[in-house]
Assembly symmetry: C2
Homo-oligomer: 189 residues x 2
């Protein structure tokens, strides 16, 4: 059951529209217009508007989940793992900036797939929290309120989609290092 080329084009165009106006404000006729066809023709490739949103969000959520699993099961230090998490966000957001907008803004419209998404998100956040806690226990990370640290870092990483499209390739290479410095600079011992 692999995704056809035409379906992927619909998803790619939809991502951009969803980022501009949000899922609910984008109509099937809007999507059809940028695809150069009529709204009814979209249904030769997708089965519903919902499916487009689900495909966008869940594929990204699964990328984060599998990326996180690789990182936590490595034998690096906690600080190195946190740097890897930052890189993971920069990488995925660079590859799918518009899709990240839907992930952040329109996940509540997932309906049937909502529970699955929330499972993935909760597990991801729990991994992140564990990382910070271990770092404090290891004395790699300063003793500051771990909730605030998780919230602050995650808020910044989740907002990257607003910012990365404005960066060129040159700045993008430095972004990783700068983010580590700013996000972790204050908490690393």
């Amino acid at each position: 059951m692999k995704t056809s080329l035409r379906k992927q084009e619909i998803i790619n165009k939809s991502e951009i529209l969803f980022k501009e106006k949000g899922y609910s404000a984008v109509t099937m006729r809007d999507i059809a217009t940028v695809m150069g066809m009529k709204a009814a023709s979209l249904y030769n490739h997708i089965k519903s508007k919902q499916e487009i949103l689900s495909d966008i969000i869940l594929s990204l959520a699964e990328d984060f989940t599998s990326g996180m699993e690789v990182i936590v099961s490595s034998d690096k230090t906690t600080v190195e793992k946190l740097q890897d998490v930052i890189s993971l966000h920069v990488q995925i957001t660079t590859d799918h900036p518009s899709g990240m907008a839907s992930l952040n803004a329109d996940w509540m419209h997932l309906e049937e797939k909502l529970d699955y998404y929330l499972e993935l998100r909760d597990a991801y956040e729990e991994n992140f929290r564990q990382l910070i806690s271990s770092g404090i226990k290891n004395k790699e990370i300063a003793v500051v309120n771990p909730e605030v640290v998780v919230f602050s870092i995650l808020s910044t990483l989740r907002s990257l989609y607003l910012w990365i499209p404005k960066k060129d390739d040159f700045n993008l290479k430095e972004l990783d290092a700068d983010l580590s410095k700013v996000l972790l600079g204050g908490v690393i011992i």
Copy 2:
């Protein structure tokens, strides 16, 4: 032209609905239901759905603008001013957590008032940038990429609405100090 009590109730209920599903997905009939009336009756108090959104977002945006003006024109140090900006965000978000969701997620649906909102937002961000730049020049703030610092702090402060409703009053008093420590801890010299 002051806002009537009943209109303010509509705005308050709408904020909560807008936070849950986004402006576009909330119908006038949804708002009427939580108000205990029929959709048509809403128009005795408001002139359009747009007006509800504009009132929510612009009143908050103006709070930020006037708050920022007070802060930048004070004679405190740059670091103290930044702490005041953090307090400003905590304060406004605590008072209007649902409205902050609309400000962050639905500003693009403002239409006639969009340009005015963008002016306020741009001016606010420019003030923030100036604050960081002055701090670096004064040697109060470490020489790290100022763009990344602005982006990181602002991303966190703008996401507070997701977090503050979960905090009780006790934690809320500590939040200010913890945020300053985490957000500024890495950049203050």
